[in-house]
Subunit: 223 residues, 2 copies
DNA sequence: AAATACTGACTGAGTGACCAGTTAATTTCT
DNA sequence: AGAAATTAACTGGTCACTCAGTCAGTATTT
């Protein structure tokens, strides 16, 4: 599957390179799936937003389900490479690393994947949230395929820097950490509503300063 | 809106009372919406599972959207009454209460609403999770209407028992706590997968013994 | 009899997928 | 090199089907 390599490579490859229609479809899918969910999204709307004929989507991706997975695959690979790189950098230190930077490494790549992508306002993060929380077959398989391997790395890292953690508690720690991270990625606007504007879930950096201590302290309570 | 009161009241009111078709539709909706999401659920399937004609759903609830809200309303009212009762009981004490029972009061009624309802396996909890995390208009309005008021009570309680919390941090504390609770309610089976069966997100009581210390320690880190 | 509860057949508006046919790019042959 | 053949990218239209919602009419209650 996938395009026949970068035909437009050469002169333009960074930033404002005119992207291929293949990628335009994936970008559009990301936005539409994020706003409407899997069932709510329509191939027509994805095609219109991408500026291509609907048939082209089926030409490249065959079915809606394959399109969805391709979209998840592309972005999750990018995010999880970032997470793995950060984590490896931390664990490579001589002395035992702190828990804090590890927890931060868990979230920062996801946040940055959201903002670097212009004008889609953390669309993928929202897809992530609903995928991770879904009890449905399709989404659980995607979580297993694209997110369980990196999860295991973080669980091991937790046990390494907090030796009091049993394996079971390290798994709970990971799950709880992800749960807390959801509140940052979901971008529901609820914190602002509950606090009369004091809190803003659009400000990822502010949230990280709250989330990291919360999670690290919570994890240490499980030791 | 709603039925003309409990016509089947009197002799039978507990457990195995033959429920009205009105309630049968709501129960069915709960199951189907939980499995398929709002868009994925169909009125046909809800009708079949409830054992009624599809037209009857429209007779009672007019539209799919009204049905969804009626289903959320029924269960959330029951849950939030339980939460408020527990919370009031705790705050009524003479000395300053602990944070732990307050956090437990946040989750226990939701858990118990899931298990008391036979054979629907925490269906409503899953609806809750996806509703709370959704960025869509409809679900945010429901969260605001049915969950923000009780949220404010818990936020105030947090500030009361942990005086070091600013209002903003108390709101974050509430959001993070809910986020952690999601991992318990979503019932994705992921903890078992990540731990080779050591962890079980089906066992709510075991999870509470992990979640409550995690959250309380996390909240205290924000003071 | 009058209101309420309920049915089953129906509708118009979409839905995902499909396909015959067109254009653009690449490869192969001379 | 350039013509011819082959493949890849892409379009507009259409298909069979499903959707939420409607309604005329029938049962059930009060």
């Amino acid at each position: 599957m996938g395009q026949k390599s970068a035909k437009t490579a050469g002169v333009e490859s960074l930033s404002s390179a005119k992207e291929s229609r293949f990628d335009a479809i994936l970008d559009s899918a990301e936005t539409v799936f994020a706003r409407s969910g899997y069932e709510g999204a329509t191939m027509r709307e994805i095609a219109e937003r991408a500026g291509v004929a609907q048939g082209l989507i089926h030409y490249h991706f065959k079915t809606k389900e394959v399109l969805f997975e391709a979209m998840v695959s592309r972005r999750s690979q990018q995010i999880n490479e970032g997470r793995a790189a950060l984590l490896d950098g931390i664990l490579k230190q001589d002395q035992t690393p702190d828990l804090e930077p590890i927890v931060e490494a868990l979230f920062r790549p996801t946040i940055e994947a959201g903002i670097s992508q212009a004008s889609n306002g953390g669309a993928f993060a929202q897809i992530l949230v609903s995928t991770a929380n879904s009890a449905s077959e399709r989404e659980q398989l995607l979580t297993e395929k694209y997110y369980d391997p990196i999860a295991q790395k973080f669980i091991s890292a937790f046990m390494q820097v907090e030796p009091g953690l049993t394996r079971a508690n390290a798994v709970w720690a990971y799950m709880f950490a992800i749960g807390v991270g959801m509140t940052m990625m979901a971008k529901t606007g609820r914190p602002a509503r509950l606090s009369d504007g004091l809190c803003d879930d659009g400000d990822a950096d502010e949230m990280l300063t709250k989330i990291v201590p919360f999670i690290c302290s919570g994890i240490r309570a499980l030791t």
